[in-house]
């Protein structure tokens, strides 16, 4: 019982410590340090590619993607047409018996 009361007292005392915490002043030169860091950040931002803004980056990405898709689409379409043309020529040759079936070197 006494132990329980003692523990409760300890708990109350521990929680009560929060009411005794005094105000801590902001460290000296804090403002100066923040302004220095801000200045350093600004200097890093003003780099060679400062003109390459996020909007420009996005636009460039879109153009590159469009070019890629366009090229792939064109290449795919071209290969399909070539395939169709080849089979058309073969069919024509077969129809008019122009295609040689012999594999002999003498022919």
């Amino acid at each position: 019982m006494k132990n329980k009361e003692y523990i409760n007292q300890q708990v109350d005392d521990t929680l009560g410590v929060l009411n005794t915490i005094e105000k801590v002043d902001v460290p000296p030169f804090f403002r100066h340090k923040v302004l220095q860091k801000l200045k350093a950040e600004r200097e890093v931002k003003q780099s060679v590619f400062n003109w390459f803004t996020p909007q420009l980056q996005y636009a460039t990405l879109c153009v590159v993607l469009l070019l890629n898709f366009g090229t792939i689409f064109y290449a795919f379409n071209t290969s399909q047409k070539t395939g169709t043309t080849s089979s058309g020529i073969e069919l024509f040759a077969q129809e008019y018996s122009l295609q040689s079936e012999s594999n002999s070197i003498l022919n």
């Binding site: 132990n3 523990i7 409760n8 300890q10 708990v11 005392d13 521990t14 929680l15 410590v17 929060l18 005794t20 915490i21 005094e22 105000k23 801590v24 002043d25 902001v26 460290p27 804090f30 403002r31 340090k33 923040v34 302004l35 860091k37 801000l38 950040e41």
Partner: protein, 193 residues
């Protein structure tokens, strides 16, 4: 100067306005930081980061709340970020969370060294215990309890910062206090002095 004009000048990147902002808020922000992270050096680093974030993000601030509320929100988030980062390095706490176990008030698992200049010497031991106990609370309880009982913010301020209702804040605070009492009882039972 009213808030609107002040904000316009801040957004335009006016340095003297930013210096004025620093002047007005440095003490308050630092006080909140050291309430969450009771280490003077860490609290100073976090407070610096808060102001840099304010400067970076001021153009995103729509002015739908008070400037002070917005700054306190950033402060709270930066403190929580710091605590999460440091806590995740402590594998013991991580595993306890995963296993769903009660996180004990363990002096060795705290994320920083308790070095709060505002704590009286005779209360150093107990202050370390209470800060560590607060750190084991669920995040929402930790935030509200710290803002209310350590940083001394009013309920209205806490409502604005957290976006919760007054009844919610009161309820969470009540639960936080109950949990802390239980944790401290368990601690003192296991560690009789």
């Amino acid at each position: 100067m009213n808030q609107k004009d002040f904000l316009e000048k801040l957004k335009s990147g006016d340095e003297s306005t930013f210096a004025q902002l620093l002047n007005e808020f440095e003490q308050k922000v630092f006080a909140t930081c050291i309430s969450f992270v009771p280490n003077k050096e860490d609290a100073e680093d976090i407070a610096q980061e808060v102001f840099l974030e304010v400067f970076r993000s001021v153009n995103k601030f729509k002015g739908d709340s008070k400037l002070s509320t917005w700054i306190y929100k950033i402060t709270t988030n930066k403190c929580l970020e710091f605590i999460r980062k440091k806590n995740s390095k402590k594998r013991f706490v991580f595993m306890q969370r995963i296993l769903g176990n009660e996180i004990p008030v363990d002096k060795t698992s705290y994320f920083t060294e308790v070095n709060h200049p505002g704590v009286l010497l005779e209360n150093k031991e107990k202050s370390a215990i209470i800060f560590k106990a607060i750190n084991t609370l669920p995040e929402n309880q930790k935030v509200i309890f710290t803002l209310a009982k350590v940083d001394g913010k009013s309920y209205q301020e806490i409502v604005e910062i957290t976006g919760k209702s007054l009844s919610s804040v009161e309820s969470i605070l009540f639960r936080a206090k109950k949990q802390l009492q239980q944790k401290l009882k368990a601690f003192y039972k296991a560690n009789p002095s």
